[in-house]
């Protein structure tokens, strides 16, 4: 069976030979136009006049469009219809698209786009948390507040208290392939090639912009050169722009953002300020905690509500909190609209509570690992009740108009499910019983394999001997909830054809952005048919093959699409089995598919023979498959319910060194133990873990977004925005899989692995804090990203 094998990425050979095609590699038809946006140069105000004569006169320019020239209003928002493709006169951030140029080359379009003469009535932009609070500039009416128990009383009555604040920056996705799209006009619609995690969203927005039914818009994506959440909604503008110009001119259109434009225009991870007030006891047990999240969402809503929700949903991380209140302010500021990024708010929530654990341990002089263990949820192995799974048929979906339904930013029109808190003693702040918690066992094993205790002691010794350089070590766990929190998105479809020669065509709604989803789902399909994986043809995601897909996001790709593909394969397999059973006078359940053969009634046929016979007997060899995640029930206003199907876990120990004269710092060694359930492909899962860790550590160390006082992003290229380079990965990097089956009924009992490892990078941040704390008695209060500058400031604070 191919499931469980570390097969290479489906496109590995194409990747290494340069033959793998990305959007800009697809040859366009003759006379294709190339598009570029003209961007605002101010962060807030109104356009007084926009003279585009020089743009129109520039060499190679075929068309210039402003909002006024559009036949219909074109919107790019995945949620609130608040992102006009081109400004309606109001300017909300520096980099906003004001006009659109179509020219006969990419360069000509870029050059022309810089020639506009625009006069603005500039207004004072809202940039900081303080400014936004003062102006009450926010999404939703007020802060969202969820609570469990009486946090205020618990803190007041606790023997010890502390309060503090951590600032954490946002993060640029830096997918290596920038945003790109191409539109080819068809006789009755349009075909879009888009580098997108969400083809259905592109289809929806393009159909809306052109006034066409979704059925007239075909969106295709074979692969992305990285996504990380950045291509969940941010590709809409390019696809819509290409579609509009293609529709107007009858010419194919292509558009890609130059890297600087990409970083200037598109949204990034939300930055957060987390204020905390904690009551705890002498053992380090947290008795009550009150979190206040402030996040700058940028100028439009995009996916900020579910992102901020997920931050709240992970404010507990791995810890059983009896009394907790979480207040979340979603602030509207004049920046790029912050968007999805691997973890989707989860990392920010997790970092908040990890900071609390770290500071509590520091105040008590305890090893932070012990404090964490004392606060853990109760282990699954200690709970008597079996995990509860309810049958909850999906309610009907509303059908009106062009409402965004398939986006995580959708304003759900479903009646909120009555979601009463569960009664057990192991519940999350949002009332979900935790029945699958395995971090106790994982922590024990990781502490042992990483030799944590002895190394911590040795580091203290080393630090005593070295006045300039200091080392630090830290452990951090992650418990991450798996499912879209907008319940109806937890569905997927697949389309499988078996051809008469025994070859298999596989299609599903998930997109490939490097995570290996296509390979994993193909392994599932091959396993269902008992054939070698080479027989399964992997094909581009295509809205004309599988409709109404959800974004490939929330780590859900293999859980959802693997199950949908399994359903489709099983339908065909059952038809073949029933047909062969009839021939051999046996039961269909006795027909076995294995080793590229079909075994029936003591005979073995090759898979090809079996298929050929079935075809000749007029058995349908094509099927769709569908899956919806069971047992979900969630009320996001109350903050109550069961938003997640299950939790994925992981733990890391990181050792670092810092230079106390300059704050320069390095990761020396990392040990990870990660829970991917029964891995579908340990090779690919390991890749997600290593890559997620380094990306998470990058978020918290070298990756710093800097806007100036005018609201201009000053770090808009890799020359100024520094993602980890090769030598920034840990010198010693040990990764192990926990490899126990998922108690929830997932595909082959695997677990989602896309996002959870990202949060293991938090151990690097905590290790830097540990190193800084060796310089003096005070808590170093390190903020993120821990650049050399911030580490030096933390060293100064630690010295007191």
């Amino acid at each position: 069976m191919s499931v469980g094998k570390p097969l290479p990425h489906d496109s590995a050979v194409l990747h290494v030979t340069g033959q793998a095609r990305y959007i800009d590699d697809i040859p366009a038809p003759a006379h294709a136009l190339h598009l570029a946006f003209g961007l605002s140069r101010i962060a807030r105000g109104r356009i007084v006049s926009m003279n585009l004569d020089r743009v129109r006169a520039a060499p190679g320019v075929a068309m210039v469009l402003t909002a006024e020239n559009l036949d219909r209003p074109a919107d790019c928002s995945p949620s609130a219809h608040d992102e006009p493709l081109l400004s309606d006169g109001a300017v909300h951030y520096l980099g906003q698209q004001l006009f659109l140029v179509a020219a006969d080359s990419h360069l000509a379009a870029r050059k022309a786009a810089r020639l506009a003469d625009i006069e603005y009535a500039e207004e004072e932009p809202i940039l900081t948390v303080e400014q936004a609070l003062a102006a009450n500039s926010r999404f939703e009416d007020g802060p969202r507040i969820w609570s469990k128990g009486d946090a205020e009383a618990a803190i007041a009555n606790a023997p010890r208290k502390l309060r503090g604040r951590i600032e954490m920056g946002g993060q640029e996705h830096f997918y290596l392939e920038g945003m790109a799209a191409m539109a080819q006009p068809q006789e009755d619609g349009v075909t879009i090639h888009s580098s997108t995690q969400h083809p259905t969203e592109i289809q929806h927005k393009v159909a809306d912009a052109l006034g066409l039914p979704m059925s007239a818009v075909k969106v295709e994506c074979r692969r992305m050169g990285g996504g990380f959440g950045g291509k969940e909604s941010q590709g809409n503008a390019l696809a819509v722009a290409c579609a509009i110009v293609a529709h107007k001119t009858g010419r194919a259109c292509r558009m890609r953002y130059d890297r600087d434009d990409d970083m200037t225009i598109t949204g990034k991870r939300h930055d957060f300020r987390v204020d905390y007030e904690v009551g705890y006891d002498e053992s380090g047990r947290v008795l009550g905690v009150d979190f206040t999240h402030y996040t700058r969402c940028g100028w439009s809503l995009d996916l900020s509500l579910p992102v901020a929700d997920r931050a709240m949903l992970h404010a507990d991380n791995a810890y059983l909190l009896d009394a907790v209140r979480i207040t979340s302010h979603r602030l509207k500021t004049n920046h790029q609209s912050a968007t999805a990024f691997r973890g989707f708010g989860g990392p920010q929530g997790v970092l908040g509570i990890e900071r609390v654990m770290d500071e509590v341990a520091h105040e008590l002089g305890l090893d932070p690992v012990e404090v964490r263990q004392r606060n853990y949820y109760r282990a699954a192995s200690e709970l008597n009740e079996a995990p509860q799974h309810h049958d909850d048929p999906a309610p009907a979906l509303p059908t009106d108009g062009d409402t965004d339904l398939a986006s995580r930013g959708a304003q759900t029109q479903l009646p909120a499910g009555e979601a009463a808190p569960e009664k057990g003693r192991n519940t999350t702040p949002y009332g979900m019983e935790v029945t699958d918690f395995i971090l106790h066992e994982m922590t024990e094993r990781l502490l042992e394999t990483s030799d944590y205790k002895a190394r911590r002691k040795a580091i203290a010794q080393w630090n005593a001997e070295n006045p300039i350089l200091k080392r630090g070590i830290a452990f951090s766990p992650v418990k991450f909830g798996i499912s879209f929190t907008l319940t109806h998105l937890n569905q997927a479809g697949a389309l499988v054809h078996v051809y008469q020669d025994g070859s298999i065509h596989l299609n599903h709604g998930g997109t490939e952005m490097g995570q290996g989803l296509f390979r994993k789902v193909a392994q599932v399909a091959a396993s269902r048919f008992g054939v070698s994986p080479e027989r399964v043809r992997i094909t581009a995601t295509d809205t004309h093959k599988v409709p109404n897909t959800s974004a490939t996001a929330a780590s859900s790709g293999s859980d959802l699409n693997g199950m949908a593909a399994k359903a489709a394969c099983d339908t065909i397999r059952t038809r073949i089995a029933e047909f062969l059973a009839g021939l051999h006078q046996c039961s269909a359940s006795e027909v076995r598919f294995a080793d590229d053969q079909v075994h029936v009634g003591g005979e073995s046929l090759s898979f090809e023979q079996a298929v050929k016979l079935a075809y000749e007997a007029r058995v349908s060899l094509s099927a769709t498959g569908f899956y919806k995640t069971p047992d979900l029930k969630w009320d996001r206003i109350k903050g109550q319910g069961r938003p997640f199907f299950y939790f994925a876990h992981g733990a890391a120990v990181t050792e670092v060194a810092i230079d106390t004269l300059t704050g320069e710092n390095r990761i020396l060694r990392t040990d990870i133990l990660h829970d991917a359930g029964h891995s579908l492909n340990p090779g690919l899962d390991r890749g997600q873990i290593e890559g997620g860790y380094v990306q998470g550590a990058g978020w918290l160390t070298t990756e710093e977004l800097v806007w100036d006082e005018k609201g201009a992003l000053r770090t808009h290229a890799p020359s100024t925005y520094k993602i980890p380079a090769c030598s920034d990965r840990p010198d010693l990097f040990h990764v192990d899989l926990w490899d126990a089956p998922n108690p929830a009924q997932t595909i082959y009992r695997s677990k989602a692995v896309g996002e959870p490892p990202f949060m293991l990078g938090i151990s690097a941040f905590l290790a830097l804090s540990h190193a800084a704390s060796s310089c003096g008695p005070a808590y170093p209060n390190l903020d993120a990203p821990a650049t050399a500058e911030r580490v030096l400031a933390a060293v100064r604070r630690a010295k007191g």
């Binding site: 990285g226 890297r259 004269l661």
Partner: protein, 494 residues
């Protein structure tokens, strides 16, 4: 530009058109060779890495996005499409497949090319060889496993055959036949079917740019530049490249210097090393590794392999950047800059060359011919502070050379970058330390003087306060290091 000829994946090709057309655009738009990717278009991500072989047979990885076609005159280019031979993957390609070295795959062609260049040179310092290639998916670990697995495997045959063909690419061919429009005439490159250039994907810059001038010697350059003092001189194009790809500037007149062999000489005499202006930073790094290990380490960090292979010491100084790392180091070393205008030559202490932000002591028609520095100064150290260790521009660069006799500071030279509008010495700090006993108390006493020397700016790389604080930290580090203490965070191992 004057039509040029070069080898592309083993085939001779000729190209004309705008001299500032990048190799990357040419490959993707003109040749349909889309394996070479555009990740940043500024030489920072390595997704466009190609291998270029020189007439002398040297082979190096370069970023195609900031490599102008005239720089390829008489050279051989290999792209990812030309790496595998006869259906067999190159060993680094095979290893990348086997070790899960690719995820999204977009950076992969660039990695594979950088790995193949390192493989051809027998390099096993993989972190450094791949410092110029960014990957956002893998965390690099599987790529390094692949690079290690490919160590010592057989070299592809094209390395030799490209060298042989280059030798036969005669001067006449290199000079080109202007009558022929070559792109259409030349055959497929890289195993693909002949490609029909896509209408209009090309550059529109042809109308505004004169043909690039490609001198064969410094004498030729000197004579031409007198008549064309407004021209942009391009050596490695690691900076000028961005004027074009990011600034979208047309360069009306250009000269490409990389065929001036006499500008590439390294000479040592009378106790001084003299680098011709066209010496690449790769060769500067190799030359300085023994006498000035901290300088070589600084060069290793400030530019990736691809950048060091293109960038020249002369270009680095001539552009006058306040954040370049060579200038502070060379100022502290008491380097001399050698200028030439026609047949007139003069020399200046390097610190006198930098007059103000964007302004150097260089006359119209005058160019940097060489820079010279002492052969050895054991007391010299240079340090750089940046957000990332590798391939990053300094927030602060600081160089020190303190002479101590009988426990007393007898002379001191410093050089600082990132602290002012030009790279310069910290004269007040130097004065505060001169004549004092060489101990930490003297250093601490002198440190506040750095605030008299510099009023640094706050920008995206660092705050003014941090710049000053870390500059002082580097002075403390210098003292600690020459006193034998452990100071390098890069040398700590778990």
């Amino acid at each position: 530009m004057t039509e040029i000829a070069f080898l592309l994946n083993g085939e001779t090709v000729r190209a004309g058109g705008a001299p500032t057309r990048s190799l990357l655009d040419y490959l993707r738009e003109q040749r349909g060779l889309t394996g070479t990717k555009e990740g940043c278009n500024e030489g920072d991500c390595g997704a466009c890495t190609v291998i270029v072989t020189d007439p002398e047979g040297g082979l190096r990885a370069l970023n195609a996005c900031i490599l102008f076609l005239p720089q390829l005159q008489g050279r051989a280019v290999r792209t990812v499409e030309g790496l595998a031979e006869g259906g067999a993957l190159h060993p680094v390609q095979q290893a990348m497949v086997e070790h899960h070295g690719s995820q999204c795959g977009f950076c992969t062609p660039g990695f594979v090319m950088a790995m193949a260049a390192a493989h051809a040179q027998g390099r096993t310092d993989h972190d450094d060889q791949l410092a110029g290639n960014l990957c956002r998916c893998t965390g690099y670990a599987p790529i390094i496993r692949a690079a290690e697995a490919a160590e010592g495997t057989a070299l592809p045959a094209w390395i030799e055959s490209d060298r042989e063909k280059l030798a036969t690419l005669t001067t006449a061919q290199v000079a080109g036949d202007a009558a022929r429009s070559a792109d259409a005439a030349s055959g497929p490159a890289g195993g693909r079917a002949p490609y029909e250039p896509e209408a209009g994907r090309g550059s529109d810059a042809t109308l505004t740019e004169a043909p690039g001038f490609i001198p064969e010697s410094a004498d030729e350059l000197a004579a031409w530049y007198l008549d064309h003092p407004e021209a942009t001189l391009i050596a490695g194009a690691t900076d000028v490249g961005l004027w074009v790809t990011k600034g979208l500037r047309a360069l009306p007149e250009t000269a490409f210097l990389n065929r001036c062999e006499d500008l590439k000489r390294i000479e040592t005499k009378d106790g001084r090393i003299r680098f011709g202006a066209g010496v690449t930073m790769t060769r500067v790094m190799e030359t300085l590794a023994a006498p000035y290990p901290s300088y070589a380490e600084m060069v290793r960090r400030y530019g990736s392999v691809q950048v060091r292979n293109a960038a020249t010491i002369g270009g680095s100084l001539a552009n006058g950047s306040p954040i370049g790392d060579n200038a502070p180091a060379l100022i502290a070393l008491g380097a001399t800059i050698h200028l030439r205008r026609g047949d007139d030559r003069r020399e200046l202490p390097l610190e006198a060359f930098f007059i103000d932000y964007g302004k150097q002591d260089r006359q119209p028609g005058e160019f940097v011919e060489a820079v010279s520095l002492p052969e050895t100064r054991e007391s010299f150290r240079v340090y750089k502070i940046s957000k990332r260790f590798d391939q990053d521009i300094s927030a602060v660069c600081a160089a020190f050379d303190v002479s101590v006799e009988n426990g007393v500071v007898t002379a001191i030279r410093t050089g600082f970058g990132g602290m002012a509008a030009t790279p310069k010495r910290a004269r007040a700090f130097e004065a505060a330390l001169t004549g004092k006993p060489w101990n930490i108390e003297s250093v601490e006493t002198a440190l506040p003087a750095l605030a008299d020397d510099f009023t640094p700016l706050t920008d995206m790389r660092a705050s003014a306060q941090y710049r000053l604080e870390s500059a002082q930290g580097l002075a403390r580090r210098y003292f600690a290091e020459v006193s034998g203490q452990r100071t390098s965070v890069l040398e700590v191992r778990a």
